[in-house]
């Protein structure tokens, strides 16, 4: 059965070291999962306007709606952000701010971040991990942080990528495919029979 992996990359420059790391992580996950894997990449930069619009209007449209749908249908996610002002970038956060609640429930996620120097490496644990805990995603134990230097000198970056990709692949490939909740099912799930709603309102449930 085809596994779907989606990479979300919040890099802004072209080329971007964030995208570079994202691609390496995506490729490593696919390698571990095997040929029957579909990989999609969601670049947030082209969605910047749509994300701002979604904040203002409350709904996502066009390419952003499609990106959200890819994320909803994914069996596993790789998310990578540059470090801005000691945390994930605002663009990165906005993408997850406007995702429908519950989209990431139980979804395996590999956390990645890039920055100019290694001094930001704890951003994975003090910023990304709490965010994805809140979103009820299952973040794999190994996150991958890459400083600019790592792309040249750190032979161990490849090792960390392989280890993290292995952890994500185990979660994605090990169990049955996640059930993808459709919009209609969300509406249906909210359609609790009225007597039950009334009991709940009155604190009798």
């Amino acid at each position: 059965m085809t596994r779907r992996v989606v990479v979300v990359s919040a890099g802004l420059s072209v080329p971007s070291s964030t995208r570079l790391l994202a691609d390496r992580l995506g490729a490593a996950v696919v390698e571990r999962l095997g040929a029957d894997t579909r990989l999609d990449v969601v670049e947030l930069r082209p969605l910047a306007h749509a994300l701002a619009d979604a904040l203002v209007t409350g709904f996502a449209s066009g390419d952003l709606a499609e990106a959200q749908d890819l994320v909803r249908r994914a069996d596993g996610l790789v998310v990578v952000t540059p470090v801005f002002a000691a945390s994930y970038s605002g663009l990165f956060k906005t993408f997850f701010d406007v995702l429908e609640q519950g989209t990431l429930d139980g979804k395996p996620v590999l956390l990645g971040a890039t920055a100019g120097t290694a001094r930001h490496s704890l951003v994975l644990d003090h910023a990304l991990r709490p965010l994805f805990s809140y979103l009820h995603a299952v973040a794999v134990p190994t996150g991958v942080f890459a400083a600019t230097d790592d792309f040249g000198t750190d032979a161990d970056l490849s090792g960390r990528i392989a280890r993290a990709a292995g952890e994500l692949a185990d979660l994605v490939g090990g169990g049955p495919a996640l059930h993808v909740v459709t919009d209609a099912e969300v509406a249906e799930a909210g359609a609790v029979p009225f007597e039950q709603l009334l009991a709940r309102a009155s604190g009798r449930e």
Partner: protein
């Protein structure tokens, strides 16, 4: 099918002049707009309820009564009545009184309100929004249908032996709509009672509206109130029209770009594509509006938002004139191909007829000396005189 307008009663600067109307001007303007709506042949005018600036609409029944006194035919409604933060006993009393004063020209639309601080200002908790809407309405529903109510719930002080006065005109409570953009619980609630369901429609893509209306229709049928296509559906809509489409775009753009709800976000071009907002000629507004049926089915009430985004009163009145001009074509278009078994929106007259005629349901107080109520005493008096 009913056509009308709804307003949120906001005080917004006119972005083309920088001038902000006073509260007094806005309140008076609402009345002028309502009178104009009747003049151009519309069926419904609905006013909002808000409890914070920049809104003036804190007391809907006062405004509705003043409008009703100066109109003859148009139905007064709300968009919306806050069922979460308003005591259902006060809703029963205020709208019950209004129903008598207007000879039944009133219905109301329940809404929850999404302004966080309004809840604590009225001693409520926004996280209980759905539960408040469910429980408060359950009480209101009983207050209008049972002469004496014993009640204990979670959100208001208990009632023992309580009678909401006045009793509904002709024994028939005002018709109720439930408004929601995205809460299936509210569609379920409307379906359970066989009440109307109104989708705001204007801020979101049509696919959301379609989904919510479909859910409501299915549940309406489930609860045995009628067939799927007999459920009572209302939609919002908004337009800006001028005889020339280009004039409409040029004139409306600064208002759109600075509008409190969606301004500084998507472009006017994007928003008109993504949502039901139509900017253009009367013919274009007519065609787009007639297309709403394609995804919600034949429906009962279409309300347009016309006084918003700081549009001056003169412009709003001109918009209503233009709406009046396409109204006959709108009515004819909506009637085309509409099956005979699809009902119209309930009115006081139709509800009285359905109940088998008008009956007075006045509850007379017991005389605390004789223990008798007034009509018993009257009967005795008649017997004596006979």
């Amino acid at each position: 099918m009913q056509f009308g307008i709804f307003s949120v009663g906001d005080v917004t600067p006119d972005p083309t002049t920088g001038r902000t109307p006073t509260e007094h001007e806005r309140i008076k303007a609402q009345v002028e707009i309502a009178k104009k709506a009747e003049d151009v042949g519309l069926d419904v005018v609905a006013v909002g309820q808000h409890h914070n600036p920049p809104f003036v609409a804190s007391s809907p029944t006062t405004t509705m009564a003043w409008i009703a006194a100066q109109t003859e035919r148009i139905v007064l409604s709300t968009a919306t009545t806050l069922i979460t933060t308003t005591d259902p006993v006060r809703i029963a009393e205020d709208y019950g009184t209004l129903q008598h004063l207007t000879d039944g020209r009133v219905d109301l639309m329940m809404g929850r309100g999404n302004t966080g601080p309004v809840y604590p200002w009225f001693g409520k908790d926004i996280r209980e929004g759905i539960n408040l809407a469910i429980e408060n309405y359950a009480l209101l529903h009983r207050l209008w249908r049972e002469d004496v109510v014993d009640w204990q719930g979670r959100f208001r002080t208990p009632l023992q032996g309580f009678t909401a006065t006045p009793r509904p005109l002709d024994g028939v409570p005002p018709f109720v709509w439930h408004g929601s953009i995205r809460s299936p619980e509210i569609a379920e609630q409307a379906a359970y009672y066989g009440d109307g369901f109104f989708h705001n429609h204007i801020f979101w893509p049509a696919s959301h509206t379609k989904q919510m209306v479909d859910l409501y229709r299915r549940r309406f049928e489930h609860y045995g109130h009628g067939g799927y296509d007999q459920a009572i559906v209302g939609l919002g809509g908004q337009f800006f029209m001028r005889p020339s489409s280009q004039d409409a775009w040029n004139e409306f753009r600064p208002y759109f770009d600075n509008a409190p709800v969606y301004g500084h976000g998507p472009s006017l071009e994007e928003f008109t594509t993504q949502t039901p907002l139509t900017v253009g000629s009367p013919q274009q507004v007519l065609e787009r509006t007639l297309g709403f049926r394609d995804y919600v089915g034949d429906y009962q009430r279409q309300l347009f938002l016309v006084d918003h985004a700081g549009l001056p009163l003169k412009t709003v009145l001109e918009q209503l004139d233009l709406l009046g001009e396409i109204l006959p074509a709108l009515r004819a278009g909506m009637a085309e191909g509409r099956p005979a078994h699809v009902p119209d929106a309930p009115t006081h007259g139709s509800l009285v007829a359905a109940a088998g005629g008008a009956r007075d349901t006045t509850v007379h107080a017991e005389d605390d000396v004789t223990g008798r109520v007034a009509d018993e005493a009257q009967d005795d008096a008649q017997e004596v005189s006979a």
